[in-house]
Symmetry: C2
Subunit: 342 residues, 2 copies
């Protein structure tokens, strides 16, 4: 199992990436021969020495894509960027997974161009496990696809259900469709169509859920449009930042550093630090592509290496292909009878 990591992606690259790799080796027990650093070899050499990563293979990539570059043109123009080269190590079978904290749009675009989609999948989607007190709730899509059609969202439900089973051991993940109310008839036409598709789909569908249900843990998978998912994630992030930091400071002051409160606060902070969690799979592409937050530090990269390992070992992509095929078959049968009746 070989995992390629984008050395040039993210606000704290390349240092955070190299440090994260070292952490995965020292604390995570990942064999160093399983790792492949993708970036400007000459520039990385001193950092590799400093962090003690000697012996980790480097895939030389002369270019890097900035966080604010337009994804499509960056991918076309920078064939020797760390993102495109990283994808190619997977396409060529020299690695099974690729991790990047870089330009998310560029990662999504490069995966489509270089790796292609899994058989039967219409649009890949980014699946983010959001922490709840009942374990992760997977929100899909959070921005890979901002032109979501009903069948894309049906497939998101199927793919995220398989991911939930494979990565979080849920036997029968429950799917909710994000809407502005739980009653039948609520929502826009897109939501209504997805609702109809999900009801006959074979996934365990609970129906509409609302924003507050994401954190409450009533469902294992939340399906939403990429635009909506992206905004939600950032609202939650903004909330935790502007707010928790306030509380933590105040509580630390007033409790004079009580170790009990400190430990509890630390665990909460970690649970809700979206930048630290690290590792959202891009579901529906040929390979294991793991997207990290742009602000990832070493810990998030190390975590993403673990996520990539589990994702690849679980062979979830094979399950996704099977289940997407079943759903399309159901779809075609339903269509057939529908046409027949008219």
């Amino acid at each position: 199992l070989k995992i390629a990591v984008d050395a040039m992606g993210g606000d704290h690259a390349p240092r955070a990436v190299v440090e994260g790799m070292a952490l995965a080796i020292s604390d995570g027990g990942v064999p160093r021969e399983n790792l492949l650093l993708v970036g400007q070899a000459a520039a990385l050499a001193p950092l590799i020495d400093e962090v003690g990563l000697e012996g980790v293979a480097v895939e030389d990539a002369s270019q890097s894509i900035g966080m604010d570059e337009s994804p499509a043109s960056a991918i076309r123009g920078k064939r020797d960027s760390s993102i495109v080269r990283g994808m190619r190590t997977v396409a060529e079978g020299r690695a099974q997974a690729f991790i990047s904290a870089g330009n998310t749009g560029a990662v999504v675009a490069a995966s489509a161009l270089v790796l292609g989609r899994l058989a039967g999948v219409s649009r890949p989607g980014i699946a983010v496990p959001v922490p709840t007190h009942r374990g992760p709730c997977v929100v899909i899509d959070v921005g890979a696809n901002i032109y979501c059609k009903p069948d894309h969202m049906l497939q998101y439900a199927v793919m995220a259900s398989e991911y939930c089973k494979a990565s979080f051991g849920r036997a029968d993940p429950v799917v909710g469709l994000l809407n502005i109310g739980e009653e039948e008839g609520k929502g826009n036409p897109l939501i209504q169509q997805v609702h109809a598709l999900l009801q006959g789909s074979g996934v365990t569908y609970r129906g509409f859920i609302e924003g507050q249900d994401i954190m409450s843990g009533v469902v294992d998978v939340v399906v939403c449009e990429g635009f909506v998912g992206n905004v939600i994630l950032k609202v939650a992030e903004g909330f935790s930042e502007s707010f928790l930091h306030d509380i933590f400071r105040k509580v630390a002051e007033t409790t004079n550093g009580s170790p009990d409160v400190k430990a509890y606060m630390g665990s909460l902070k970690q649970r809700f630090d979206y930048a630290a969690t690290g590792g959202a799979p891009l579901l529906g592409v040929e390979g294991s592509i793991i997207i990290c937050h742009g602000r990832s530090h070493g810990g998030a990269i190390a975590n993403a290496i673990q996520v990539a390992t589990n994702f690849t070992r679980s062979r979830v992509n094979e399950r996704i292909v099977d289940e997407v095929a079943k759903v399309s078959m159901l779809h075609r049968v339903a269509d057939f009878f529908h046409i027949d009746q008219n």
Copy 2:
């Protein structure tokens, strides 16, 4: 100034509403002759006695609309509901404002039917002041309109700017358009069109903002689609609930009820308790319509009475009509020259 309040709306009605009115009188200094309770007079009588609201006028309404009823059919079918009758007190000039914690969709539908829109306004929008450390940030729309078109969203920017000036004393409110990135070219076609309209509109437009910016206070007004705004609000609510309650309990335990921490936590809780804040105006209708959270307790109702008073006294609706007219004029001029050039 007369303020009508829906006695039958919300999860804790009618008790919470009647108690909220009493609170507005006792703590808020609102004269009782300024208040009008709308609901089933016979059923309300014992409660009015109990709470000590004798002398407050009651507008008898034999029906009430449930939280889960379909708005359009409820409004058509229940002409004697507290929501429809409340709107009529405003339409007939017997009250200037109407407050409801009931079925939001029904309030929006009834306002369109009974009151009508302000001159020049295409679609009313619900404007929610979200607490930030720099004061309220007004998010519009949060669900009055789920088929948002570019010119609706342009008008939301204009209306919410006027509301910000009139209610929060901002001299020059800064407007942000919610998107999935700050760079030009990001977002879907709707967002791109609104972006173009806002740039030439005369409102103080900062450009795209992202989800995390709502809480950070970098803008005074956030414009978004009703679907997106509704989801955001509920995510923030869910976050604060599932999470803050946890922290508060733990901190209270560990600090053995330190009064300093307790007071701080209490202030935070109040600041982020969306049910307690109470009072989001429906901008763009002929009158002052204030929508409360369905879970409102007495405090939220009392607060909404204050909001309704300020909203009506500020005569913001006159400013909205003027500014919407200016923007439409600009619009027509731009269109004219555009056509001329081709």
